[in-house]
């Protein structure tokens, strides 16, 4: 049976394509495999996530990402000479930003545009076991929650005057960690109750209201990823 949805809520890419792209990006942008040989692909992989954000009409976050990236890239280039210790720490920080930012943007894009049920269905098609996919989807759902909670707890502790440096370090850590874990475990209990209600535990095959299949854009991006790996292989073994 096919459902008609009121509006087209599809994201542009299939979840599987997104994961392949994330993997490629983490190998070639963060891992810096191939280095100068992969120059062209490196830049494609750096700016592709921003293009994807634009394609989803996320103009603001895309522009901010480009601004941060370009800024820290050139600042990092400018710092390339004999460095004092402080400058070296700064350069390292900028370097980490330029390495990790493209992949973070990509991950953010993926989390924002992929629905949990879409992800589970796509993974199911690839015959990945539930035992990995459910924790992964929980992790992605949970990252923002953990950060939000810890920020709130941090504020509360600051109000009580419990800060790093002001008190004993062990106290400062304990008073942050314990409430964080307590509240997270309670949220987790609620989450698993909600999942139970939706029948995650039934053990039958799940159905999904969204149609999941590869489209033209998916094929283009998969081809790009494959070319990246092939080109890298050529550079590695034949030159």
């Amino acid at each position: 049976m096919e459902y008609k949805l009121d509006r087209n809520v599809h994201s542009l890419l299939d979840p599987r394509t997104k994961l392949l792209l994330l993997f490629t990006s983490s190998v070639f942008v963060i891992g810096n495999a191939g280095e100068t040989w992969m120059y062209v692909f490196y830049w494609i992989l750096v700016y592709l996530p921003v293009l994807l954000l634009f394609a989803e009409k996320e103009w603001k976050s895309g522009l901010i990402a480009i601004a941060i990236y370009v800024g820290s890239y050139y600042a990092q280039l400018a710092l390339r000479h004999d460095l004092t210790a402080l400058e070296s720490a700064l350069a390292l920080m900028l370097y980490i930003i330029t390495k990790i930012l493209p992949t973070i943007i990509l991950a953010r894009y993926i989390v924002k545009t992929t629905k949990v049920s879409e992800f589970l269905t796509a993974m199911n098609r690839m015959h990945v076991t539930d035992k990995l996919t459910i924790p992964i989807s929980v992790i992605f759902r949970f990252f923002p929650t953990v950060i939000e909670e810890s920020r709130a707890i941090n504020d509360a502790m600051r109000m009580r005057g419990i800060e790093m440096g002001a008190n004993k370090a062990s106290e400062a850590i304990e008073y942050r960690m314990v409430p964080l874990i307590a509240s997270c475990s309670i949220i987790g209990e609620e989450l698993s109750a909600a999942a139970m209600t939706r029948g995650l535990d039934v053990g039958k095959k799940r159905s999904c209201i969204w149609k999941i299949r590869f489209r033209v854009l998916d094929l283009i991006i998969i081809a790009l990823c494959l070319i990246c790996f092939i080109w890298w292989g050529i550079g590695r073994f034949f030159t």
């Binding site: 992964i136 992790i139 995650l200």
Partner: protein, 194 residues
């Protein structure tokens, strides 16, 4: 119940939650690796700080496989965030061993829990493999930190440090697990969460 020993959704969600907490703590601590001396001390701080959530997680573990999944996921996260794939391999193996250790204690014994935590935390140590076995490639991507940074890191990590770091990691894991159990007893068992 006939499927009592299979992991159900609740267990898997628990795994996800505690992986997320551990990963956030790891990330927050690892940011300090910018300073050369902290780069080495990470192996002290990460096991001690993730001890509390991990021991909490162990109280929820009653079935085979949960520790293994947590370790695989942590390893995969390390890989994606640019450490190296060593963490994934070592994490999988150590998770399996930890699984057996904790099962030997019937999923209850605190002592076995602490040892299991120390063993499973070895993936921290695996992150240093890049520096030990593949130093040139490791630093070729980091030329622009300045020679000073490279020198200070390499001088602190000669080859013989590799086994030493493993021991340090295990000891810190035991300390972290011990602190974790104490904190659990002090806060959570009274509150009835653990």
């Amino acid at each position: 119940m006939k499927n009592d020993n299979r992991l159900n959704a609740k267990d898997l969600i628990n795994v996800g939650i505690y992986t997320a907490i551990c990963a956030v703590i790891c990330c927050a601590v690892a940011m300090t690796g910018v300073i050369p001396i902290m780069m080495v001390l990470l192996i002290v701080f990460v096991p001690i700080l993730t001890g509390i959530p991990y021991m909490m997680f162990l109280t929820k573990v009653k079935k085979f496989g949960m520790i293994l999944i947590l370790n695989v996921l942590m390893g995969a996260l390390m890989w994606v965030t640019g450490m190296s794939y060593y963490a994934l391999i070592v994490g999988t193996l150590s998770g399996l061993i930890a699984e057996f250790i904790y099962r030997a204690g019937d999923y209850k014994s605190k002592k076995c829990g602490i040892i299991a935590y120390a063993v499973s935390g070895i993936y921290c140590w695996a992150n240093y493999f890049g520096i030990f076995f593949n130093a040139e490639a490791y630093f070729s991507t980091r030329q622009n930190f300045g020679q000073e940074y490279i020198d200070s890191v390499t001088s602190m990590l000669p080859m013989w440090m590799c086994p030493v770091l493993l021991v340090v990691d295990l000891v810190c894991g035991i300390i972290g697990g011990w602190i974790g159990t104490k904190v659990l007893r002090k806060h959570f068992e009274k509150a009835g969460i653990a």
